[in-house]
Symmetry: D2
């Protein structure tokens, strides 16, 4: 019998490393009759560093409520080891709001995979600064909101969006959203906004990366999924990929090939986020089994 999403729970831990942590965590789970099916661990140093831990465990035999397990873990293990920790249970699907402008490829890739069951999430809302993709989105049974997001209206628009999202979304995905969110807005979703940038960061940050890549004459173009921070295009990188180009490829060819990269890289990053595979370490990510 394979693990099923329905009975899978996941524990993520970040804490100062010291001997005994894995033993304490796994003994705790054992005593609550759950079976561990995946365990990934990363320590930044041999001693004295930071420990990152991800466990998948199966809850059919769980002997207490989710709330009771969570509280017991906090009291019995988490506080003792000064852990930053989180348990996700399968009966709670993460809620993902998607932001998009006019380019539909990244959005459609996500909606399509979601419809096919590849992404275990709810999508409460798609937000766009254009009305162009409304029909495309609503066809999937997903709510679409047009928010102008012009230079003048941005502060009010962001306030309106925060209201729309309140209690509706656990994280945001910028699927080629061509507006720059304010630092204040970003601070509401720390490490919970995923962006796809159409270059191999840190090369070609900023505007028109395919034109920059063309002018430079690189032989590979790339795409980068990263968490959004107040520093534009500088947040922790989740995933990247590249494709080979040649002198025959004009800027439009780079854009076309880049769309394929953006779709693939963003979809992989969102999937990793949904499966709790990503931990943050400074401005870098730990991604378990990407």
């Amino acid at each position: 019998m394979l693990p099923t999403p329905e009975t899978t729970a996941r524990l993520l831990v970040t804490c100062p490393d010291r001997p005994g942590i894995v033993s304490a965590v796994t003994s705790f789970l054992y005593h609550h009759s759950v079976n561990i099916t995946e365990l990934d661990q990363h320590a930044t140093d041999a001693t004295g560093g930071t420990l990152f831990l991800r466990l998948e465990f199966q809850t059919p035999g769980l002997d207490v409520s989710h709330a009771a397990l969570t509280q017991a873990f906090d009291e019995g293990v988490g506080r003792h080891f000064e852990m930053d920790w989180h348990i996700s249970f399968a009966n709670r699907r993460p809620r993902m709001a998607i932001f998009v402008s006019k380019h539909d490829h990244a959005l459609m890739e996500l909606l399509w995979r979601w419809q096919r069951g590849e992404l275990r999430a709810d999508i409460p809302l798609v937000i766009s600064n254009h009305d162009a993709l409304r029909a495309e989105v609503e066809r999937f049974g997903v709510r679409f909101e047009h928010v102008p997001f012009s230079r003048d209206s941005q502060p009010g628009d962001e306030a309106k969006i925060l209201e729309l999202l309140a209690d509706q979304a656990d994280f945001l995905v910028l699927a080629r959203f061509m507006r720059i969110l304010s630092g204040d807005f970003v601070s509401h979703y720390p490490h919970r906004i995923i962006n796809i940038h159409h270059s191999f960061l840190p090369a070609f940050a900023g505007a028109d990366p395919y034109q920059q890549a063309y002018d430079k004459g690189v032989k590979l173009i790339g795409a980068t999924a990263h968490y959004v921070t107040a520093d534009l295009d500088q947040g922790p990188i989740i995933d990247q990929d590249v494709a080979r180009v040649s002198h025959r490829d004009e800027v439009d060819d780079l854009k076309r090939m880049g769309r394929d990269l953006e779709r693939q890289v963003l979809a992989r990053a969102v999937r990793c986020h949904l499966e709790d595979r990503i931990l943050i370490h400074g401005n870098k990510t730990i991604v378990f089994n990407p």
Copy 2:
């Protein structure tokens, strides 16, 4: 402080899965004052399957001798959970004998990486059915033995080789060795002979794979590293890679590009073997963090 190879030990476990195993193993290690720096686990099923476990731990604080730790683990954990297990300590370097025929590229890649410190192993011996590469090998300070291995002499030659290897080698690497070892010979090194096959197995098994690939008109050629079993080219696959080819590439081009693949794939497979990253499951491999 990063983990150093000198104080790193590794535990590999295969056993029937049931709750409590990881807890028991990590608690055991904790009580002997070692710190776990990497832990990988794979369960074939949610319940009732097979568990595969790999731990790296640091031994500077170890409170008993290696022998005592090993015995204590057997008595306290291993037998209880019916484990097939093994602990490697860093002060014992694996001994790797290399077999080669006339093509030197795979052999040279290994010797070169070894000289540069990329492969933590001793190389007691290189064995060849030709004398052609003697000078190349001896220049690295490595012993070279020429064993004719003709059709008629093979049984005697294999006996002689077994004698040469006795107590000298922990595992064997066939670096483009163009003779087929007998099932009897192979049985002396179960899952301890690594071969590099010059195709993307299972395609083009047998002789002249590059000619086969050329005739078929494939657009990618490959190389496959696998453990040798009595079934020719059918043992558990460790690693594979491919390179793109086109109609412009003649058989000689495929061979040239294939040499690069063979070198890379074999070197990666040997490195994984040396770092105890590979477990066997039927005719397949578990490779942790390749």
Copy 3:
């Protein structure tokens, strides 16, 4: 000014190689006031082999009608060098019929790219042995025909399809069509049916390739686009690609990752076909600038 699809024409030539061919072809075009913007040539041997030639040229300055140019080429060049040749003019878009069963991913990828203008073709018809995808297809403004294609009805169904396609389609794409077309049917579209096979051919030909790949324990899975011949899964390979998998991936994961490969590889193959980049040589392909 970049070449525009509207004024681009393409000449494809296959003929016995001998000196003077390129000179004759390019002099002919020069004398009709067209400018050559791409020229690819491949000779199988230094002398006495087969020559394959592809030219892109710009027709705004063309001094005669398309028909006149075609006839003049035949009389002045083609017959003389015993050429198998073809000129495509941009004002004639190739017509592509798509066959599909229940899996929608390959079909949707094509429709999506087509809608976005990435594939310069007309799509007169999608044919399926299920009615399930009708709405998906019709939403793109494309005609959908359900033909049962059961074991008993196949001969009649194929006749019906040939009738539907008559004068409507220049080539066919099997986008995960799970029925085996008869040799008779295939003979109506020689080297004009593209199939996507969900394995790295020639490995895992036949049914259930992902299960086969899983059982074998390969470390890379693949997809292959090829022209359909009377020999199942044996026709000339157009393009292939692979993705890395691990012991953590179950058959369902291979299928999911394989879908991405199938989409990408089929889309690239169709694009090459549409741009007249593929020539056939025995059971192999010449693909210029894939």
Copy 4:
């Protein structure tokens, strides 16, 4: 019969594009009884741009001396079309001098491939600012010169090197040479010095790129081969490649994996240069059939 290197000649052309060029070139060659086996062409625009042309042709039937063919081409074709052009005959092997510092991997890769016949060049000289690799180099029968190249001695050292190279080398390869050549030195070998940079340029130009990549947390590391210009790390890019890394990889792992990339990318770039596959267009390259 396949083309053999011995009878292969190559013509490279850069010139203002206009109708009739390919016709004139191929007619010229036809009338001198040579057979064209490969022809690649690239025009930057539909009309009025720059034309880049590479031909491989077979000279066994050549009716005049190499010098006479060259002069006739100049008079009959080259001047008329304002061509920048060059013909290489196979009986003249390019002479490649290699510069290295302490890291031996890129140098050894080149020497090894050269010894195996993969690189059709003469190597008159290896120059290093350390004496450490003398024995390694001389073992291949190649001359080794140690030139200190300290901060103070550089001008005199460069003068000495220019003297050593005079009439000895057609182009230079910097195989991890860790000194910055002066603009004056570079001007003696315009677009004839190939460097391997240990990053995915333009990301991480300058010193310590692996440390920069580690600090940034990229998920792919790269290597870049480029022609050296007076602008450090900014010359035309010839080839690039990347490898996937993860949070488990420390800086030393990046360096190890990067060595593999550097070896592969530099060897490919040198091979393309030796086969006259590279044309320069501003600060970018045209690489035919890389």
